[in-house]
Symmetry: C2
Subunit: 219 residues, 2 copies
């Protein structure tokens, strides 16, 4: 006998929502309320509703609005996870997206069932995530790092105005190690995604220029 | 009233199967036999069979074996296409993969309903592909080019043994323009994916070294 799930797989989305808080790369996790995998930490996710969603990206936006109370301009697909064994409910497909959130929005989101964990903590064996979310988080992290390595600037993580030093610290938090300042400044000079403002902040040394992201910058 | 398709979307895979033949980047297309979109050229594709496939990648392998009679070692996911309007049968999801095929395997595959078109021809307005396959092909092409630009070598496209000149011509066919020879040779020297053989081919000038891909090379 063929069950319904063998004919019609469960279709859902998961979202790896990253932020850099105090120079640490964090990922937002939710504590699962229901079975399966109740009480485990998981990437925010939810089931496709074809009567409401015009695409899987729309599903991801709806899930983020509902579960994490955040509306995001930029979601990017990472990969699809599929098969008969990844969810005890039967054959399932999860499409993984990632998104970047400025750190000043993170604190407002953290509630009893939403927490921002450092990526190392989220991936530690003690915090074993629900379903295949450990593998999903690793894949999202790899894409995020590849982007920064290949010279994209994670401007979605920055506040409206920021110094180049703050941007460098954010890149370093993502890569997990220091970047040479002169190499970083050279990269910045080649970028069309940054606009230098006629504003400064007074630092410990000389005043530092403020920057903002240009409209329609790419990440 | 809610139709079945609104509850259970159609789930399928499409595959952009590339090859470089006579220094031209080509994509394998099949002529659709059935409605919808009958008689249009399309990327090879097919519907998920949860009772047979252990993943969507397995679906893609099965479809390629059935429709194009090819078994491939390496398939990579590009993106997911979804929504209520992309297929006239209702809400649908297509997961796009791409794969690279050595040119010596292409001719055997070309039959009445399978053809290798140059990418420009496949994307020309006269050959308008079925469904959203034009957008899918463009996305796959972009990923393929990004990989070559970021220094991956498209070794899956090469025969077992090849010269560096042949490899450079293949990269150039993908990028659609010339690569400086000294830049290319420098990139080659930094790669762990190539093994220099103690074999040569006699060319118009001096004999040229033959190379093969190392086991487990990455693309």
């Amino acid at each position: 006998m063929i069950s319904n799930r063998e004919l019609y797989p469960l279709i859902s989305v998961d979202i790896a929502l990253f932020s850099v808080v105090e120079e640490t790369l964090k990922v937002l996790l939710v504590k699962r309320a229901q079975e399966p995998e109740a009480k485990k930490w998981a990437l925010p996710g939810g089931v496709l509703k074809p009567d409401r969603d015009i695409s899987l990206e729309a599903t991801a936006r709806r899930v983020l609005a509902d579960k994490v109370a955040v509306e995001l301009p930029h979601l990017e697909e990472v990969a699809t996870y599929s098969g008969p064994d990844r969810d005890p409910r039967g054959w399932s497909i999860a499409v993984l997206f990632y998104a970047l959130l400025p750190h000043d929005q993170v604190n407002a989101l953290v509630r009893s069932k939403v927490e921002a964990l450092s990526w190392e903590n989220a991936l530690s064996p003690e915090n074993l995530l629900a379903f295949d979310h450990t593998a999903q988080l690793q894949a999202a992290l790899e894409i995020l790092r590849d982007k920064v390595v290949s010279h994209a600037l994670p401007l979605h993580l920055m506040p409206e105005k920021f110094t180049l030093t703050a941007l460098q610290r954010t890149c370093e938090a993502i890569l997990g190690g220091p970047i040479d300042k002169s190499v970083f400044r050279r990269r910045i000079r080649g970028s069309h995604d940054l606009i230098e403002l006629d504003e400064f902040v007074r630092g410990a040394q000389r005043p530092a220029h403020l920057y903002r992201a240009s409209e329609g910058f790419k990440f």
